[in-house]
């Protein structure tokens, strides 16, 4: 039974698989995990990844209104930014993140240093960050991920999938390599400089 199905689907051409992907991803709306797509198209994960990457490139470079994006091993169809002005006329306008500079700064620190405690964030920013952390949590761009094993057991903050979606990253590993490495390597004697 299972054997028969695989034999049958082994005959699918790349074009047919792309048609399947289009219809499946269209219906899903939400991002679909690679495993699920591989299962539906009866391909192994590696082959599926290749087909998806190829299809994404194909969509991007064709006269198409849609594109394919990858986020942490999930794939989602979405519109190309070029058509935003037309789409907005539909009336269902979704406002931009609308974050303050403080929020972007905080988000940047969490993104690069996650998991990060509030204390670390405040040391780097040099300013109290309570309210901005709350805002970012409200916007579902960061979340608490357990507590640090240091005195006071402070919360640890990490970025969310919504963060990746909102800023167009595939994964945290894809953050631009701004020479942060230097910072990570240097042990930072924060406690020497009182902030509060």
């Amino acid at each position: 039974m299972r054997m028969g199905k695989e034999n049958w689907q082994a005959m699918l051409t790349i074009t047919e698989i792309e048609c399947i992907l289009e219809s499946v991803l269209f219906t899903a709306g939400d991002p679909v995990p690679l495993e699920k797509l591989a299962d539906i198209c009866a391909q192994d994960k590696k082959t599926m990844q290749g087909i998806l990457e190829n299809y994404a490139g194909h969509l991007l470079n064709s006269a198409r209104g849609l594109m394919l994006r990858e986020m942490e091993g999930t794939w989602q169809l979405c519109t190309k930014p070029a058509y935003a002005d037309y789409i907005i006329q539909l009336g269902t306008v979704r406002k931009t993140p609308g974050l303050t500079q403080a929020a972007y700064e905080t988000l940047s620190i969490i993104a690069y240093r996650q998991p990060a405690t509030r204390a670390v964030i405040e040391q780097i920013r040099g300013v109290s960050s309570d309210s901005v952390l709350l805002k970012l949590q409200e916007k579902n761009l960061i979340r608490e991920a357990g507590r640090d094993d240091t005195p006071g057991k402070p919360f640890l903050f990490v970025t969310t999938t919504e963060f990746l979606r909102a800023f167009g990253f595939n994964s945290i590993r894809d953050l631009p390599k701004i020479e942060m490495d230097e910072l990570h390597e240097t042990e930072f004697p924060m406690e020497n400089l009182p902030v509060d």
Binding site: M1, R2, F26, T27, A28, G29, D30, M67, R69, Q76, L77, C78, T79, K80, P81, A82, A84, I87, R94, K95, T96, P97, L99, Q101, A102, Y104, E105, L107, S108, I109, A111, Y112, I124, R125, G126, V127, S128, D130, S131, R165, A166, F167, G168, L175, P176, I178, E179, M180, E182, L183, T186, F188, P189, N192, L193, P194, V195, D196
Partner: protein
């Protein structure tokens, strides 16, 4: 640290998110090399700025004051003559820590700008709402188990036995409710039959008190009547449909014996039901 106070002051300190942000502004404004900060100049400008805030009668957040203190401390160390022992390692530049912190802050400030730009760009991307999908039932690979087959048979047969016992129990319960009145009715009939004048028949309707006659009692009486007939103690006649039923005692030498038998059967009957 008072966060609401801090927030209020941050707002009042124009667009500066914190002391680093203000320092940065000064460094950029003066096109200073971050790694060789003219600490005297920067400190003076920083303090001037805070002064300006105070002149405008604005509260200055504690973080800004702490930074001012730090700058003054560095400045004083820079101004003091450095006394180096011959075999001592050169003293760390008092600015070192501040510089490192500023560098770290700058990187994040730069990335914050990248994020803002990306956020703007990606907010132009739209997705579609998911469509409702039916739940799919996919049959597992056809695996069968002889053990399961056997188990199910035993289980279903045990259930059957339980069900049989249950219905047996139900019937017993019905008879339990019934047995006293049935026995009583038989006795009543036998009693009535034995006290009849010669040639007179017992009327079925006579068996019931008109005030308390229930359908159940009538049914029980009917059963009792049949029982009496079965015992050979009476014959019945109903001249017409739905008319009165007449019971005539069976006369003869077997009356006593029959009576005894009847009692015996009744006793047995009661015992059966009692168990």
């Amino acid at each position: 640290m008072n966060s609401s106070l801090t927030e209020a002051c941050t707002l009042k300190l124009d667009r500066f998110e914190g002391p680093f942000d203000l320092l940065f502004h000064l460094i950029e404004k003066n096109q200073i090399d971050l790694y060789d900060i003219p600490i005297v100049m920067v400190t003076d400008q920083y303090l001037d700025y805070l002064q300006g805030m105070q002149e405008l009668d604005l509260d200055v957040a504690s973080e800004f004051l702490v930074m001012a203190a730090t700058l003054l401390h560095i400045k004083s160390r820079m101004l003091l003559p450095v006394h180096i022992e011959p075999d001592e390692e050169p003293t760390e530049d008092p600015r070192e820590l501040l510089i490192r912190k500023l560098v770290a802050y700058r990187r994040h400030k730069e990335f914050a700008a990248v994020l803002a730009e990306r956020g703007e760009r990606w907010s132009q991307v739209f997705c579609k709402l998911p469509e409702p999908l039916p739940e799919v039932k996919r049959e597992m690979v056809f695996d069968v188990s002889p053990v399961l087959l056997h188990e199910r048979y035993e289980a279903v047969m045990l259930q059957l036995r339980a069900r049989m016992n249950q219905s047996r129990g139900r019937m017993t319960r019905i008879l339990d409710n019934e047995k006293v009145s049935l026995k009583t009715k038989i006795r009543e009939i036998l009693h009535g039959l034995s006290h009849l004048a010669a040639g007179v028949r017992l009327r079925f309707s006579q068996l019931f008190d008109g005030r308390v006659k229930t359908r159940l009692e009538v049914a029980t009486g009917f059963l009792a009547m049949l029982e009496v007939v079965k015992l050979g103690r009476a014959t019945v006649e109903q001249p017409a449909m739905f008319s009165e039923i007449y019971l005539a005692p069976v006369q003869g030498g077997n009356q006593e014996k029959g009576h005894a038998d009847g009692e015996g059967e009744l006793a047995g009957h009661a015992d059966d039901n009692g168990n």
